[in-house]
Amino acid sequence: MTQLTRGAFALPGTSLDFKTGNWRSTGKPVHVHAAAPCHSACPAGEDQQAWLAYMQQGQAEAAWRELVAANPLPAITGRVCPHPCETACNRSTTDGALAIHNIERWLGDEAIKHNWAYPVAAPADDAPEVAIIGAGPGGLSAAYHCLRNGLKPVIFEASPEAGGLLRSAIPATRLPRDVLDAEVSRLLALEGLTLHSSKRLGRDVYLDQLQKQYAAVILSPGCQAAWDWDVRGAVPGDLHEGLHLLKEFMDHGAFPEAKNVVVHGGGNTAIDICRLLKRSGAMRVTLVTASGLPGPDTDPADLINVVPRELTEALEEGIEIIDHATINRLILRGSQTTGVEIASLRKIRGVDGRKRRVTFEGTERIIEADMVVPCIGEKVDPEGLESLMNGRAYLAPTDDAGHLANAHTYALGDARGDRGTVAGAIGDGLKAVAAIAVDLAAVQSAAQEIRPELPAEKLNPVYFEVSSRTLAPTLPVAERDFETEIEGDIGRTAAMAEAARCMSCGNCLACDNCWTLCPDNAVLKTQAVTADGSHYVFDLDYCKGCGICAAECPSGFIQMAAED
């Protein structure tokens, strides 16, 4: 320190010698790259916040590349996914969740239109080969992630075409066939990927053979067998099970004739069946479900498991829904259905903690019906998998990556028994292949990055403009048919505007607030991106720990933490 005499002067900026950082008593600011709730909620493992950030910079192709790092089928999921990301979105606490699915769909369509290249390279000639059973969303995702990990995927599909339930169970009004074909064929065209279609497990190929021949086997057969359905032992002579009815309709374009139909179930297949039956001329279609309809007091665990907009559209189209009810009795003339007896029901937690269904005496009523369609779910068709099934309904792997008891054999998607969405199957493909890559390379798995989730109260909403959620155009009820897609495209302008609504939960916006508002000049800006993904560093030699930067960080990226 320069020694100066009394009455002299101090040199400029010499207070830098005095480190005020040792004044901190209540904690220091840190950058916390917390997970945005959309990312935590995504069954496919997408980081929506990360790709929306590219959208905010006007870089649509970069956004798509970030998206397909996890999910190679955005044009499809943007249309069919029940989007738990939007349910989790922190913006839902202020002016409405982001319409993430509309942006995802737009990106997927742009990629098809401009033929953007998937970020994969062809595997080496001597790369290990992985056999994949089933070319549904799970199998396709697994094949794609094999390529991303330098493995050679070989898919065996029982049907003549790839797509799985996307083709057999999802109506064109939700997923137009040209979109399905375009996205799937782009994926199948990737160099190094082989598809053997019309090859059924247990008839054309055999599990033990595959296990010998390939470095690893991934099973994603889906659920092809219907659960047995009866009402106290009674089964109508002309029983039409939901998923098979839907497949028949997809193949032949017609349903068996019926005036009054009662559909029993509470999932997307049930709603799809209801809507298609109504459109093909049924006078009255009633859905009987044990779950509840959305309302302010609905327990999320009790909520009907349907894409929200599909439910809205079904109600618009005149589908009647009787919630919290079950079919108590079939009224038959001979073996023909003439009506059903409905009774109110609740799922009530018993003393053992398990939920049981209680029907209430005195609530029985009879509705006329000439067709009853059970849509109560499906199980794995055991053909070719007998050795793994042991009489169970699902493959039931031991962990999230899908490990089965046999070495190098994995199960994913609906066949696991604990999934239930297209996005879930896609995420399983990512996880199973990551595990295979580790197994085959015989290396320790990379340390899992554990990111805490960012709650809404850590955001500072003052810095975000109030703006309402973009609504997608919807086909009027009178114009809905069997081919035309019901929800429309929002277009580039709206997609960009909607992406701009993202509050970037837990991620640096580079907005300069911390740099501008530090009274102690202890936030320094950097030109290069720092290791924690921002453009700022804290100079803890001078930070007094006031907490202004954390309080005024719009996205919760800065938080106060205890001193080391």
């Binding site: 207070s15 004044w23 810095y463 907005c511 508002l517 000049n521 006031c546 202004i548």
Partner: protein
């Protein structure tokens, strides 16, 4: 690898007139305000600084946080010293702009006549008052800028009184009476607006005046992290209107988009704690009084926003990826 902080500090893409290492309290609104003013004004400036917090915490002997020529004056004569500096610059044929800094004690009370003289003689000086609404450096004594009903050590709240009995002095109206080219109020909650006003004043040849609302966590008794939020709510409720005067006439105001009740502002601060004492009828009366004062400001300056505006109290804060924010 940890970045080289000294090198990084030298390479910051903004002018730094007030360096780190100063001894302001945690969350000091005045330190922030002075840093923002220096960024907007520098580097070709010199400062005359009245006695007060800013002078004390930036120049602990033998160090200085200032990166520009800076001179300490008495409590009452910063405008007079600045006038002399301005005259010296004229004599030397230099264009260096003189800034004069004072707190509200120095500006509203002790140095008031010197300030009036400086404005009247039409010196080329930007005078900035850092208004933290009491004599904070000497231990939180009331000033003529302390708002009505705020408790200080010389206007305590208790059985006999409800904090300061008198009103906050309407300084801008007095400044307006001098018909100077530009006078404005600003807030640390709106740094872009503050710096715009500084730059505008810097471009004017003649006396200009800026009063910056600068929360004091110690004296106002609020959390050090709440400095910006407190300042923002003062503007949003109308108690601290952001206005611009040219030649004594209101030329511009920052419209309020979402008007807050004054209790949102008061309840964050311990100095107004007695206004929230249950069962005290005086508390309700004083809250209503302060609300009436805020309503008066909104009506007088026409602060109610008619439509959403990019520069109203909400629009001015909006951030976007990659800057353009606060």
């Amino acid at each position: 690898m940890a970045p080289d902080m000294n090198k990084l500090r030298d390479e910051q893409p903004r002018f730094c007139g007030l360096e780190s290492g100063h001894r302001a309290c945690q969350g000091c609104g005045e330190a922030l305000a002075a840093r923002l003013v220096m960024e907007g004004a520098g580097p070709d400036v010199m400062v005359a600084n009245a006695t007060g917090c800013l002078e004390v915490f930036t120049t602990a002997w033998p160090q200085s946080s200032w990166q520009v020529p800076w001179m300490h004056s008495l409590f009452e004569n910063a405008p007079a010293i600045a006038s002399g500096m301005d005259a010296a610059m004229k004599a030397k044929g230099k264009n260096t702009k003189v800034l004069a800094f004072g707190g509200d004690g120095s500006t509203y009370d002790i140095g008031f006549q010197a300030l009036s003289g400086m404005l009247e003689r039409h010196h080329n000086i930007l005078y900035v008052c850092y208004d933290n609404e009491a004599y904070m450096n000497t231990g939180i004594q009331r000033s003529s800028s302390t708002p009505h009903a705020a408790a200080t050590t010389t206007s305590p709240a208790g059985k006999e009184s409800m904090g300061k009995r008198h009103l906050k002095k309407d300084m801008l109206s007095i400044i307006a009476a001098h018909h100077i080219p530009f006078a404005a109020s600003a807030s640390v909650a709106y740094p872009a607006d503050l710096q715009r006003k500084v730059r505008y004043a810097m471009g004017i040849e003649g006396p200009t005046f800026l009063v910056v609302h600068s929360p004091c966590p110690l004296g106002w008794k609020h959390d050090s992290a709440a400095t910006i939020e407190v300042a923002r709510r003062a503007v949003e409720c109308g108690l601290f209107p952001l206005v611009e005067l040219e030649r004594g006439t209101v030329a511009n105001v920052m419209p309020i988009r979402n008007r807050r009740p004054v209790v949102d502002y008061l309840s964050l601060q311990g100095r107004f704690g007695h206004l929230f004492k249950a069962g005290d009828p005086r508390a309700e009366e004083e809250r209503d009084h302060l609300q009436a004062l805020a309503d008066y400001n909104i009506e007088t300056y026409g602060l109610s926003g008619q439509t959403d505006d990019n520069l109203d109290t909400t629009g001015a804060g909006i951030v976007r990826r990659g800057g353009g924010g606060a």
